[in-house]
Symmetry: C2
Subunit: 238 residues, 2 copies
Amino acid sequence: MKNGSEGNLRSQSLVGGTLANDVLHRLREDIISCILKPGEKLRFEAMKDIYGVSFSTLREALSRLSSERLVVSEGQRGFKVAPISSEDLGDLTNARVLIEKECLLRAMERGDDEWKSRILSTFHRLDRLENELEGQRRVTPEWDQLHAEFHEALVGASASPTLAEIRDRLFERSRRYRRISAMVRKTPRAKTDEHRMIMEAVLSNDVDHAMTLIERHVREIAQNIMENGLEVTPVQAA
Amino acid sequence: MKNGSEGNLRSQSLVGGTLANDVLHRLREDIISCILKPGEKLRFEAMKDIYGVSFSTLREALSRLSSERLVVSEGQRGFKVAPISSEDLGDLTNARVLIEKECLLRAMERGDDEWKSRILSTFHRLDRLENELEGQRRVTPEWDQLHAEFHEALVGASASPTLAEIRDRLFERSRRYRRISAMVRKTPRAKTDEHRMIMEAVLSNDVDHAMTLIERHVREIAQNIMENGLEVTPVQAA
DNA sequence: ATATGCGATAATTTCGAAATAATAAGAACA
DNA sequence: TGTTCTTATTATTTCGAAATTATCGCATAT
């Protein structure tokens, strides 16, 4: 039984040290990957078995996720997975543009060689994978991972724990929309050079160009998602 | 016994519907007002009695507060109140400048008459209180409340749930520093016209001026706080 | 002296049962 | 038929005991 990730033999690879933290991470991933569908009611009895934890521990994780806007708390009527909507995606995208630009700007002002080399290496890993995947499959978990690492590398020198955390939160929320979009895409995703262009602008210290590109990138993704339709994964409205 | 706020007869004024939510709010306020001091270890056994809840409920609240950066989780070694530092204050201030400006900008682009009248009324309430307090006491809880309401009113029309939530979080963190600063201030706080100037710029649709003023306001507060010294409320370092 | 290992103590984390609140189903009434 | 109580059922929230993990003190060895 247990949950997808791996059989959990207590105290083995507990992501954050505690079981509560581990469940938090697993739940977050399951929501982002839409194993738990948008709007879906989260029943304790069932989840308890699936994730192999008790009421309290489960509740702690759900409570935290609700503060990350991946879960919605319904008074004393439990929790459900945060619904998706084009309004939410639009709002999220605006916030992301603001934050990603600021983080990237700060990183470009501060970044050292190590920062640059990490950008280079994460880009190449992503690029290599995209070539292998050329024209074929949808967004794989591996792509998602490398894509996240590339963007993380870009802002890795922003030197602001507060902004970095905000960025992470927004990025995670957008990952879910990306996955949804990939699930319903009809035509295989065209490989673009956006990431390469961003990388080049950043490594050549062209701040203005980098700002323009990162904004376009964030907005284009949202645009793609909306065009691919959002009403997917209907899940009986609550 | 129970905790400061009020005697809680179950299901009477539970802020968020659940007891867990209520404890969350009470803890947050106690941290911001430094009843729980920066860096202080939070022991379950004691807190359990003070707040009148069980281990699990308490843990849920602490876990959420740690995601708000008001509490720090120490692996499987419990929780402590987030320490204060000038680095943290600086980081926080930078983020606040970015977010407050964006929220205010958006509000000014969108705000209607109701928005403006709320700004006016919250300003007057704040102003009246400041006149009564003229030269005498430190930052009172009432001032803190009205001050928060004025700033909230300013951005009340920003029409972005995501940005609004981010702003709230940052504002709460800064409230704590403000309280700390007030506690150690030697000279009574001089009443400034900053709030009036901001209000006037906003109500007269002078975007550029409003942006300049709000940035200066946020930075000035941080500046004051640092000048008043921060090493207060030492609390044996962990 | 300093370091290492062991046992006892104290703290946190986790569990599952008990209490509480919401929902559904049915009965009584207009 | 529709409405409003009441009761039964289901789900969530909360508690406090039990398990786990960290910490402290002391003995032993280097």
